[in-house]
Point group: C2
């Protein structure tokens, strides 16, 4: 497991679009650095949105400006074979329940894990695509619009992420639970892993057993039974990759 | 079905606490009107929160000021029997996934439905307790911290509710989906029922086949393929109880 995890390369982005910018603009340098020159074609997974054709067009247009061709998993006759041949994978955001159910329906969960963990195929996720890269989707912000066969996800890292992490607005009169309260409720359940709250603008780069926080915003780490901790961009978060988390 | 539904009595509250007030303060008059003089003891379901003892104490204290004794389902040796003997039922808020899973674990879903629909036992829900009274929990705002055996809920009404409905704040720089976008994603799925967005401060009173919006805030109705509609407090929403919704 240590050996295979050495090959793992992940770019887990909190959000696809940052306020005032275009699609993936805020992380385009990191995308180029991440996929590099060896990857020519990226396999895109548009399952999180309803209109897969339109979503693929959006992703294709953006990736082409960065020098990558995009194949979409929903256009593949054999999804498992498409994953088996992929040079790089990008799973986009949308509804996490819809995304996870579709991944199981098309039977690609195990194959994606294998390609990333054993073959070192680079995996980029954004928002829902970041949720499904973790142990489970239990810390998504999305509505449960469809029922997936399990909340267990692809499991490329041994912790959970909360994308679009949002600080409590103390001037708000809204009484629904804050994001922090929701994550605290998760940790009231037994044996729940750490949750990395990735604020919009932040992303996690994982290379083998090394994890680094990138982007422009801090991240907030929630660990069951411990105080929450803030991390600045550039922080080494490799400790999250050990089994204890 | 028409005959049994005639007995149904529900008070479905958006939120347990309104900004600046105490627990259930904003709806205490409606609670008294709803349970009336014939009900002496209310069966409370504290499953949505982790600390069931503390939650029961909170509910018990409040209901005693209104003249009702509270029995808690988690204190019952036989939960099904407790439901069978209940004069009135109140399911409180918290995490909807935890609540629904616990309801199935303790095998009371069918019994609650039977008591309410066939015997006319008054049912009050707040927040998560309102979610589980509807067709499904697919329009909850909560995190999926545990995996219930289904998203199908008690089904006392043939539509869904989004409690704590929140209007988009146009000054926000947050790019996560708005509540309206999330409900729209739900309606992209086939055969999805109407969703009544109950803003904090509002509640729905159902008496047989009559439904009335109560409280101090408007509600927003989302129906698949139709324009959304706003309803003022006092509006007759009985049309939601027909099978078409």
């Amino acid at each position: 497991m240590m050996f295979t995890a050495m090959k793992r390369r992940l770019l887990l982005v909190s959000n696809s679009t940052l306020h005032g910018g275009g699609y993936l603009d805020h992380c385009q340098q990191q995308i180029s650095d991440f996929f590099g020159k060896d990857v020519r074609r990226v396999l895109f997974v548009p399952y999180a949105l309803h209109d897969r054709d339109a979503y693929t067009k959006t992703a294709r247009n953006k990736f082409q400006t960065l020098g990558y061709e995009v194949d979409s998993l929903h256009e593949a006759e054999d999804p498992v074979l498409a994953v088996r041949k992929a040079e790089g994978i990008f799973i986009g955001g949308g509804n996490t329940f819809r995304l996870l159910k579709s991944l199981y329906d098309s039977k690609v969960v195990i194959e994606i894990r294998k390609r990333v963990m054993e073959d070192g195929v680079p995996y980029m996720g954004s928002s829902a695509g970041t949720n499904v890269a973790t142990i489970s989707i239990s810390t998504t912000n999305d509505m449960p619009i469809v029922y997936p066969p399990t909340f267990a996800a692809i499991g490329l890292v041994p912790f959970n992420i909360n994308p679009h992490y949002l600080d409590h607005n103390s001037s708000s009169r809204h009484m629904g639970e804050t994001r922090e309260q929701r994550i605290t409720q998760y940790h009231e359940e037994a044996d729940t892993p750490s949750v990395l709250g990735l604020r919009e603008g932040s992303m996690l780069l994982v290379e083998g057993n090394k994890a680094t926080l990138l982007g422009t915003t801090k991240a907030r780490l929630f660990t069951r039974g411990k105080q929450t901790v803030e991390y600045d961009p550039g922080s080494d978060l490799s400790f999250l990759l050990t089994d204890a988390h």
